[in-house]
Symmetry: C2
Subunit: 404 residues, 2 copies
């Protein structure tokens, strides 16, 4: 059951960004499980991809096709990650691109493939290719929600977000994105995919810089560890149908902020829909000596199964938090200056439990569906904020039964 997460009420169409979806019966028939985003000739694209050494075939192909600088379509399938499939998997990914190119009037290397689902199994090409053939027939600018549904795997809620930015002189820029992903605890495999489009006209290198900034402050701040699954990818597409925008413009920071905002809403939606999640938890680390140190402490706590099970139980076992902080890889760490709070309930100060701390107060915070674990290290002025979920029976069930 997702934490405070509902399907998007409205996803703004983005001029020039057209979607189609289809049912390829990859795992079983009865739902659309492939989607294509087709972009106009004026479009630019940027992407960030997993750093897993065993990046899946579609990731390698997508990176290569993006590098040509003339990409025009994204082809996404759920149900099968085409990972760990060797040379045959690579050929399958290329074949999908070629077939989509035929359907869309593009060259094979203008199509970028994305796959998510079970790994180690070949794509069912016999069903996939015929389904791809029809993707050019009904491309629509208002099909974002259909696409959000088609890319779901263990997601329970489709994920999307829109922002409309007014940059003056009556000029507006629209940004809409969708994402999938619901693995939560350092999920080596629970792929995160995100696709964001804007109607602005932006040079590829500027778009690339904006996407890197936005993803560092969003997808790289959730404990899904965007850089570690075999298939993770986040794409930004600027259709060029609307207002021209450059990194040197005065309104550029506002565009980056809006892009970050969309990315953050999508990233948080992934956590809210975390497998088996019953709480949405913000980890706010302050007083660190460096950004790196702040992130290390935040992720060490976020990844601790004992903290996560305590959060599931609503048990203010702050000792587990303290212990996780204590084993974070921080040089010359001393306990004496550490403070911990749950929302507005101060628990630990100067490395010791506060005399005025009452466990009932902390238990009341942990009964909330979402709350903040604030950790001040008292050794500098750097900070980091990340988002995570708890560890429940349901997480085990989902991941123990995923393939059955």
């Amino acid at each position: 059951m997702a934490v405070n997460l509902h399907p998007p009420a409205r996803l703004e169409p983005v001029a020039g960004a057209r979607w189609a979806t289809a049912d390829a019966a990859i795992k079983k028939p009865g739902r659309d499980d492939i989607a294509a985003l087709v972009l106009p000739e004026t479009a630019t694209l940027a992407g960030v991809f997993t750093r897993n050494a065993f990046a899946a075939a579609p990731v390698r192909v997508a990176e290569a096709h993006l590098a040509t600088g003339r990409a025009r379509a994204l082809l996404i399938n759920s149900g099968n990650a085409n990972a760990g499939t060797g040379a045959a998997g690579h050929d399958d990914a290329e074949a999908c691109c070629a077939r989509a190119g035929d359907a869309l009037g593009l060259a094979a290397d203008q199509v970028l493939p994305f796959s998510t689902g079970v790994i180690g199994e070949r794509l069912p090409m016999d069903r996939l290719l015929p389904a791809i053939d029809g993707l050019g027939d009904d491309l629509r600018e208002d099909a974002w929600l259909d696409a959000a549904r088609a890319i779901m795997t263990t997601d329970t809620v489709p994920k999307g977000a829109s922002r409309v930015l007014d940059i003056g002189d009556g000029r507006r820029i629209t940004l809409t994105g969708i994402a999938k992903g619901s693995g939560m605890i350092r999920p080596d495999m629970a792929t995160m995919l995100a696709f964001i489009a804007t109607d602005a006209d932006i040079a590829a290198e500027d778009l690339d810089a904006a996407l890197r900034q936005a993803s560092d402050a969003s997808f790289n701040c959730i404990s899904v560890d965007g850089d570690t699954s075999t298939n993770d990818a986040c794409m930004a597409c600027a259709t060029g149908a609307g207002t021209a925008l450059a990194a040197s413009d005065a309104s550029w920071p506002r565009f980056v902020a809006a892009l970050t905002d969309v990315a953050r809403e999508l990233a948080q939606a992934i956590v809210r829909d975390g497998e088996g999640a019953t709480h949405f938890i913000t980890l706010a680390v302050t007083g660190a000596a460096s950004d790196h140190e702040a992130r290390e402490v935040a992720f060490t706590v976020a990844h601790s199964p004992l903290v996560k099970t305590a959060c599931f139980a609503g048990d203010p076992n702050w000792g587990r938090i303290l212990a996780a902080v204590g084993r974070a890889p921080v040089d010359d760490f001393v306990i004496d200056s550490v403070a911990i709070a749950l929302d507005d309930v101060a628990i630990v100060a100067d490395g010791e439990p506060r005399r005025d701390y009452a466990e009932a107060d902390a238990a009341a915070v942990m009964a909330r569906p979402e709350y903040t674990i604030a950790i001040d290290l008292g050794r500098g002025d750097r900070d980091a904020t990340i988002w995570t979920s708890d560890l429940s029976y349901e997480y085990v069930r989902i991941n123990a039964e995923y393939r059955s």
Copy 2:
């Protein structure tokens, strides 16, 4: 339910090492929850302690008392870790040592304290101190199993191991050890304590070297991560009642091997009794470029919740293993030379699934209570072997309900 683990059939008495246990009703009355090991004047001691920055009060005190070079007794309590208790916790630990010293005719700093259990709560000194008073009344060399029971927390089986070493000329050396610990998944808090004694007469510095070698090949090879809880400790005691032995002796390597053997049996027992464990899994990484790299890969796989849930389900989802290997912090990692096998079932070769791989074969291996996941990196000649368990519903239940 522990995996292939039973209470030790027999623990050999160690001449000069006498135990007493008592009921201090720390969590609740009705079982012995404190234990003392008292050693003769000839004894030497060595210890390895947690590297957690927030080491608990008893750890700090034990380290300081060990450093005096004249320690003679260990005082252990279960039910309360005396961690995160600040200056008051430190005073409590010292007070326990003083009281035990009174009972045993020793100075306070000749007693080393060890605590395990819930953290962030003060020790119940009103019940603890009177119970300590009686510890000198019934010290016995044959009370190892009683002690193993007294130090248990969420352990379901008392853990102990003995070896008798014949070093020629009719000389025999006895080693007996006990341990507690049953947290499994990178358990920030599930304290591991181990106490091993031998009747040999060994200089403190030699004993220290032997203990470090033994613990590196045992407790540091389980995913309990011995170096990260606030209270972890492993002590070796040589009573001096028996044969003299020095690091320069021809039989020294055999002594270190026997000590390692005892430590490894205890370490594996902790994994077998892992919280909620249903499988005992050996991770054998070979073909690494360095020892460090081999260990990093092994622990990355061992810590993966997705691998652990697949092991719980008996699902040969080897893609999760591949993906975990792929995100290990290894420089310039290429997939092409990686091989993976489950026991004798080869699954992946040259980075790809083998053509002759049949999932039913791997599923049969994973139905065994214990098996080996073998990962060959194909880039060097270094290796590492570690032991871990799976992630079950029961793990979540135990850790969500631990304090209630």
